[in-house]
């Protein structure tokens, strides 16, 4: 059942583990941890998507009526904003790898800017709806059909939660920028930047789904 030692195998694994133990740094492990964390985020939203699926299946018409209220243009702009910010994060890693610290930092500033613009857009979208009385318990929503109420309930929860993730991602990137500025993150030690990037991309990926599901139901 258990093969007894092949000395060769030993050397290989021994070498590896010791390297890891001595450097006190395990980038691969850190990345693995980050991915596992992303899975939990994915399933957190996954639960919401499942709910969305269930209700859209039951109230297809109500959802369509409700979605007519959404401004596809703003949604599309927001999509582009997040895609672009994802690009700039990816580029920033490449820049750091090539020791272009300045470029890296400016790309990250640009990312933050995109994130901020996204949030500003969301703010206007939300206040527009709220102004029209469409919010939980609001006068306009009260008179709508069940499908519409559910649509807006999900809309607020899901985009709200997503917005929260944008904020967290921005804070994460902010910290990483400080580290880069202080040379704690460098071209040979950039796993933290990579992890912040992974998180940011996840936020992007979730929006990639939110956009068609809430804006594009014709």
């Amino acid at each position: 059942m258990i093969e007894h030692t092949e000395a060769l195998e030993h050397t290989a694994t021994a070498e590896h583990s010791h390297a890891a133990a001595h450097v006190h740094r395990d980038d691969e492990g850190s990345k693995m941890g980050m991915w596992l964390f992303l899975f939990t985020e994915l399933l957190l939203f996954g639960g919401m998507f499942l709910l969305y699926g269930g209700y859209r299946f039951a109230y297809a018409d109500g959802f369509k009526v409700a979605a007519a209220d959404m401004n596809t243009f703003i949604g599309a702009i927001n999509t582009i904003l997040l895609l672009t910010s994802s690009l700039s994060v990816a580029l920033s890693i490449a820049a750091l790898q090539q020791n272009q610290k300045k470029l890296c930092l400016s790309l990250l500033w640009f990312t933050l800017l995109c994130g901020l613009a996204f949030l500003v857009n969301k703010y206007f979208e939300w206040s527009h709806e709220i102004h029209n009385g469409i919010y939980p318990g609001g006068p306009a929503l009260e008179n709508m059909s069940n499908g519409e109420i559910l649509y807006f309930g999900l809309y607020y929860v899901m985009t709200g939660l997503h917005g929260l993730h944008v904020v967290v991602g921005m804070i994460f990137i902010g910290f990483v920028m400080v580290f880069i500025a202080r040379d704690k993150i460098t071209s040979i030690n950039f796993q933290k930047l990579e992890n912040a990037g992974l998180y940011w991309h996840l936020v992007d990926v979730i929006w990639i789904f939110l956009f068609p599901l809430f804006y594009l139901l014709h």
Binding site: E28, G53, I80, L87, I188, F211, L217
Partner: protein, 104 residues
């Protein structure tokens, strides 16, 4: 310890691959184009196909982001398997929940 061997096969432990700026920009262009397509398709009143098209395009976009921006392309087998497991489990949640919703 298979991951050891794998990470070896993919190069050194603590350094991932460097990707040129060009690749990233191409991917971004693709993503923007797909966004344009999905908006257009949604406006075409294809009935039930609208949802299918929108989801397919979203999936393609996600794969692009994951594969290039998130460097899954260069990740070792372990992480790829992790992702597959996660998606598989997520899919079973859907299938089994809809074994209820779509039959009642």
């Amino acid at each position: 310890m298979e991951q050891t061997h794998e990470s070896r096969a993919f190069g050194t432990e603590n350094h991932s691959h460097t990707v040129g700026y060009g690749t990233y920009i191409m991917v971004w262009l693709g993503l923007v184009a797909l966004t344009a397509i999905t908006v257009t398709v949604a406006g075409m009143h294809l009935g039930s196909l609208t949802l299918l098209a929108a989801l397919t395009i979203a999936c393609i976009k996600t794969s692009l982001v994951a594969y290039y921006f998130m460097h899954v392309k260069f990740d070792n087998m372990v992480i790829k398997v992790f992702i597959a497991v996660c998606l598989l489990i997520f899919l079973t949640f859907w299938i089994l929940t809809f074994s209820d919703l779509s039959f009642r």
